[in-house]
Symmetry: C2
Subunit: 206 residues, 2 copies
Amino acid sequence: MSTIKATNIVRHEGHVSRDERESKLKQKAVLLWLTGLPSSGKSTIAYTVEHALAKRGHLAYVLDGDNIRFGLNGNLGFSAEDRTENIRRIGEVGKLFVDGGFLTLASFVSPYSADRDAVRELMGEGDFVEIFIDTPVEICEERDPKGLYKKARTGEISNFSGISDPYEVPEKPEMIIKTADWTAEEAAVLIIEMLEKSGKIQAQQN
Amino acid sequence: MSTIKATNIVRHEGHVSRDERESKLKQKAVLLWLTGLPSSGKSTIAYTVEHALAKRGHLAYVLDGDNIRFGLNGNLGFSAEDRTENIRRIGEVGKLFVDGGFLTLASFVSPYSADRDAVRELMGEGDFVEIFIDTPVEICEERDPKGLYKKARTGEISNFSGISDPYEVPEKPEMIIKTADWTAEEAAVLIIEMLEKSGKIQAQQN
């Protein structure tokens, strides 16, 4: 027979609740969904928000091509069907991260309204915030840090959102960030103010 | 032009690191992979560990059928191919949670060695701990809280691990929990001691 002492440990048949994690983390979890054309500035804004939140002691996480496309969704391509499954899986992972208590940012082109709406539908009330990174295609193409637009124009890349594949502009996003007017830092301020106003994080006193 | 003041916010082009999150959370992330027959006691042990960790101020999360089978992997069945994809996706999500800084528990039958080994391969050194919940099939079948063994015996459920589908016993798991000898509370003590000894969490003073 065992002689292990487990005086402080109680048997449980169910999960620790999201509420308990949020209380510990002193934040309310949410999925911020950044959508926009390639090179519109989504990821820079997401990272800038993530770092600003971390500096304030919050737990945040960015889901993006870096950690999704070569991992979970490495077996998907860019057909319409695969794009839908891509966004569906990201939505499900976002839901898990929100359940985990994270201020979660998803940074994906996510060009189809129906796919984004399906994620909104999946999430609980108030858990999904659609942020349209509204950068005109001409500016995106001028920036083109990875040379993708160039390759899309020559046909080296096909099914490229905004060039050879549709990008459906969000009809009723919770926020619109016009990067022609605002820097990434300014966009981050707007997003963090929104998180404060909606009670996801506490306003800073200063 | 904008008049937004972003004096404390700095532009970033990359993710906040796992190290930073682990420092904030005062823990080292890990994926504890609980494998064993249906009704072997995996989830009860996982929940008991999760609650005990939460009580000590840690952030933990359990991935299991509850939050995976009807969500991310709702489009998968129980064929060998789908089982492999099921475990692959769970491994990828586990990797994201570990990157997020969580003490992550995965509670899945995961009957095939090759699938479990693929998750081990995916994770970084020391990030994967395989825990075999070693309950004899007779005891699992006697417990049968969901009546699944009964349905497997009558053929109402096919491809049932341990009855009509193989369960490949782990050859070199980091831990073996014999639930015939130990209660869920005792198993949790053993797992938490292992987390302390491997430096994932600090030992409690008392």
